[in-house]
């Protein structure tokens, strides 16, 4: 009925109906808005500085970091009533070496009051075995294993005198098959904040990702025993740590 009406009449009428619609709340959903996310990389309380910063793990073993990349995927925003918005095609590769990746915006988020945030650290299993991908999932990003195909979810490289041999730290966390599945979902608390997404309002969530939490938590990582993992059971230890405490919401701007 409505479409018929629209197609028969001309622009002035259309304009009039738009005006009318804005008064009638039940007529259509409110226009979507967006949500900004900004991530700071820390080691403990210190901002991460590639190559030059020296830090210590939970056992007091000093280390430096040369690479810190990870996938942040499948972002979901939850409302108090339990309903959820899942961002489509939600795959981002965050790199300490590329500041632009640490700030991004979710567009076209349905207007609403969101009280929770969750995301995957890594890439869901379906995309691990899907065909050739582009964008964040492009294998040229250096986050894809070719010999055992699948994504490296987190790549942390650096060095530590505590590590044996060449003192290298090589933590390539990935794998999606049981028992060495390292896909983890993080749901850092918004600490009571409500993200009011509106057409003209873009709240901003400031996340803190703490590198040190890869090595502390349920499994204390001793660099003299574990300094090199590329998937497998040792990667699971690190993934478990990441799930527990790597991400926290530092603060929220209502904007």
């Amino acid at each position: 009925m409505k479409t018929r009406f629209f197609s028969r009449f001309s622009l002035p009428l259309l304009a009039a109906s738009t005006l009318l619609a804005s008064c009638n709340k039940n007529d259509s959903a409110p226009e979507p808005g967006s949500l900004a996310i900004e991530i700071d990389h820390l080691v403990g309380n210190t901002p991460l500085k590639l190559n030059t910063g020296t830090y210590t793990n939970g056992l007091g073993q000093p280390f430096t970091v040369s690479t810190f990349n990870y996938y942040l995927s499948n972002i979901k925003l939850g409302k108090a009533d339990g309903t959820e918005y899942a961002e489509p095609e939600s795959y981002r590769l965050i790199k300490e070496s590329d500041t632009s990746t640490k700030t991004f915006t979710l567009e076209n988020v349905p207007a609403g009051d969101y009280t929770s945030l969750s995301f995957t650290i890594g890439v869901d299993s379906a995309r691990n075995v899907a065909g050739a991908q582009t964008g964040a999932l492009d294998p040229t990003n250096g986050m894809f294993w070719s010999w055992n195909s699948g994504y490296i979810y987190t790549k942390l490289e650096g060095s530590s005198p505590a590590a044996g041999g060449n003192q290298q730290l090589l933590f390539h966390i990935g794998g999606f098959k049981s028992p060495n599945n390292t896909i983890r979902i993080a749901s850092p608390s918004l600490n009571g904040a409500v993200l009011q997404v509106r057409k003209d309002r873009t709240p901003a969530v400031h996340l803190a990702a703490d590198v040190q939490k890869m090595f502390t938590g349920p499994h204390v990582i001793d660099f003299s025993k574990l300094s090199n993992t590329m998937g497998g059971s040792n990667s699971v230890l690190v993934a478990d740590n990441q799930a527990v405490g790597m991400f926290r919401v530092d603060h929220v701007h209502a904007n």
Partner: protein, 354 residues
Amino acid sequence: MPRRWITTVRPALLGLVGLLAAACTTDADVAPAWEVPGTGTPANFPAPVYAASQNPPTREAFELGRTLFYDPLLSRTGDISCGSCHQQFVAFAHQDHRLSHGVDNLLGTRNAPALQNLRWRSEFLWDGGAKNLETMPLAPLTSPVEMDETLENVLRKLNAAPRYVDQFEQVYGRRPIDSQQLLRALAQFTASLTSSNSRYDHYARHEAGGTLAANELRGLEILRQKCSPCHAGELFTDETYRNNGLDRTFAADSGRAHITGRPQDVGRFQVPSLRNVALTAPYMHDGRLQTLRQVLDHYSDGMVESGTLDAQFRRAGRGPGITLSETEKTDLLAFLHTLTDPTFIQDQRLAEGR
């Protein structure tokens, strides 16, 4: 009209026509209706894993994939192509090579397997490490003992070649060439490698020319009885990983365990298809056996014990193996030769560009 003719003509003739035609004209001139091979599902095959709809075949994309497959530019040294170790006349295996030969004459650690019926496979390589037809080429491409190249550098080289930039743009409608275009173009070719016209296939589909002799039929019966469930079904593999008693320890190559990290997978390798097996010598993951006769002798009397030896090979009161009489071996060998597909190895559409 020409399309009809081409699809019904006998395989040997097709090859001959292709060769004759090649002398003076291009593909397009000879056979305007020339179709991308391997797009359908043969009547005796199961549904494919990589359906044609996932990467709809077009002649332009297929030809681009074929060009890439045969182009040594994909290797670091510029002298090894996919086709170097995967030769059409032996069903895209590597004739007479125990192990793959890579750049700088480096030897790989495994035998280059036949490339056929890849549409029906969900895991690739002897250890199943590659899990999608499109991303599979990344393994040989980046292996230091095979093509030893990086994906980034291959793209740099392709993007520096105007011919490729044009061809890719024609197919994908944009430039520059990216990794997805490269991998999907390659998959257009690798997915087309359907081998389904052996004499056995004609027999299975009750087609003309599908007559098996008495000894071949006996061989088929023995195979279904004694070589199943591993070499099961119309693809003659169940795609599982099994230890077939080649060694007592697997220090040099742990096989499937390399991927899973599980001790129970040490020494297990993916069961290969038996299609075109008479062409694909040498055999086993490391190419240690030269002839099919040696393979059968291994299964009957040559196996050795190890912790992960497949239970299929346990025999009461004697060492592991498959009990095969001399006559059974002869019959089996006769049957295995009926799995050779001359159409496939002579199909000019799959051959290196002229």
